[in-house]
Structures are given as structure tokens and as C-alpha cells.
Symmetry: C2
Subunit: 109 residues, 2 copies
DNA sequence: CGGAATCCCTGAAGATACTG
DNA sequence: CAGTATCTTCAGGGATTCCG
């Protein structure tokens, strides 16, 4: 993908698009670290496969971190990074807008 | 799609996902109204087909308006609505974050 | 000019089964 | 527990053609 001279909005969208990425970030912004299984339970409807792939991409882009503990059974924790933390104001605005517009639509029905 | 009891973030994402929607909103937030052809030139790389479909969805969701003038050749203007205007703080945060993170990555290379 | 209609294709996402 | 490996499905998006 072309990353030079790219619109910052598109850049952000590219990193954050993915059906569950914002919800994962949201969950980790509320509590960090969290284990795989806990995230799976919190992100309703997600499959382990999808959770893994979304976590991998978020990790690659530096938004979250991953720590493995050599226990039996295995323990893996995911934590929000400082970059991930920096998405908070953006997520808040998205949340606020969604909330307002969502109720707009409910009024119509 | 299930719209009740939906996460506001997901609600916003659903309305705004679409490869060019944010760029169209961005263009109309800078200048409104604008004609089809002008938008087509400003949204680099978009095809007329895609522009039409994205505009239709934005219109359906109340973010933009559409006015037809019975001239020859036909004139159609698209304008931002008050709901569309309300996305400005959100878009600004997305833009700011994209800009910051984009330069983070450039430093690494 | 500003579309509509059509066809096609890829990549995101879902389901299933298995493993260190 | 926390994944990996495959297969399949499907809708977003692209290209092309035609029209009032």
C-alpha cells in the first residue's frame, strides 16, 4: 500500500478498519492487560480465529502488546500501548457521535 | 442489520465505512455545495460508479443532501447537512491521530 | 453531465477441525 | 488456554457499457 503523501484520515482508517479492532481497543482501554479468553468473552460474537487475526494486526501496528507466560496451561496477556492509549480521544468522539446519531434514528421509528 | 442495543462505535463505523465516505464528507465540509464532477476530480482515484453509490448511502443516512437543477446539461449539487456537519469534531480527531501516527511510522524508515 | 445497469473479482470474514 | 490450518462464503469495490 502507498503510505507516502497519504491522507491522514485514510491512514487512520486503514489501521483501524477491521470488524472488531475498535471494540478490542475499547476493551483494552477500559482494562489492561487482559487475557485472550477474557477478550473473547467480552467481544460478543467474535470467533477465536478472528480474534487472533485482529490482535495480530493491532500488535503489528503497535497499538497493543502481547506477553506470553510459560505456564501450564499457557497464559497470554494483551495490553494497550502508549500508541493505543492515544486513540482514546478519537474513540471518544466516534462514540459520542454514534450515540447521538443512533438516538436520532430511534426517534424516527 | 441489527440496530437495537448496538455499540455506538459500531453504529458510527457502519454508517461511515466505505472506502471514500470520509473523504467525501471531508470535501463537503470544506466547501458545500459541490457538483458531482467537482467531487469526482477531488476524490482522487474514485470512479463515477463508486462516487454515485457512496453519495447515495451518505444521502440515505442523512449526512448529505442532493439537489437537482433541470438544466441542460443536468446539474446536481451535493451539500452537507447539519448531521454531516456534526461529524466535524470526530473527523478532526481521526485526522489528528492519523497525522501523528503517520509521522511515527516515517521515523522508523 | 450525471448517472443506471451489469458483470466480475478479490479480500475480509465465518465455520470447522486440530494442536503445543 | 491459546492458538494454527483450511476451506468456504459473500459483499465491497472495480471496470465497462449504455442512457435521459
Amino acid at each position: 500500500m502507498e503510505e507516502k503523501n497519504m491522507c491522514p484520515v485514510d491512514y487512520a482508517v486503514n489501521l483501524l478498519s477491521g470488524k472488531y479492532k475498535l471494540r478490542i481497543l475499547h476493551a483494552l482501554l477500559q482494562e489492561s492487560p487482559q487475557r485472550f479468553k477474557v477478550l473473547e468473552r467480552r467481544i460478543t460474537g467474535i470467533s477465536p480465529t478472528m480474534l487472533t487475526s485482529q490482535l495480530r494486526e493491532l500488535e503489528k501496528d503497535g497499538l497493543i502488546g502481547r506477553t506470553i507466560f510459560a505456564t501450564v496451561p499457557p497464559t497470554v496477556e494483551y495490553n494497550i500501548t502508549s500508541v493505543g492509549q492515544s486513540t482514546l480521544p478519537m474513540l471518544n468522539e466516534i462514540y459520542k457521535w454514534g450515540l447521538a446519531h443512533q438516538s436520532d434514528n430511534l426517534k424516527k421509528n
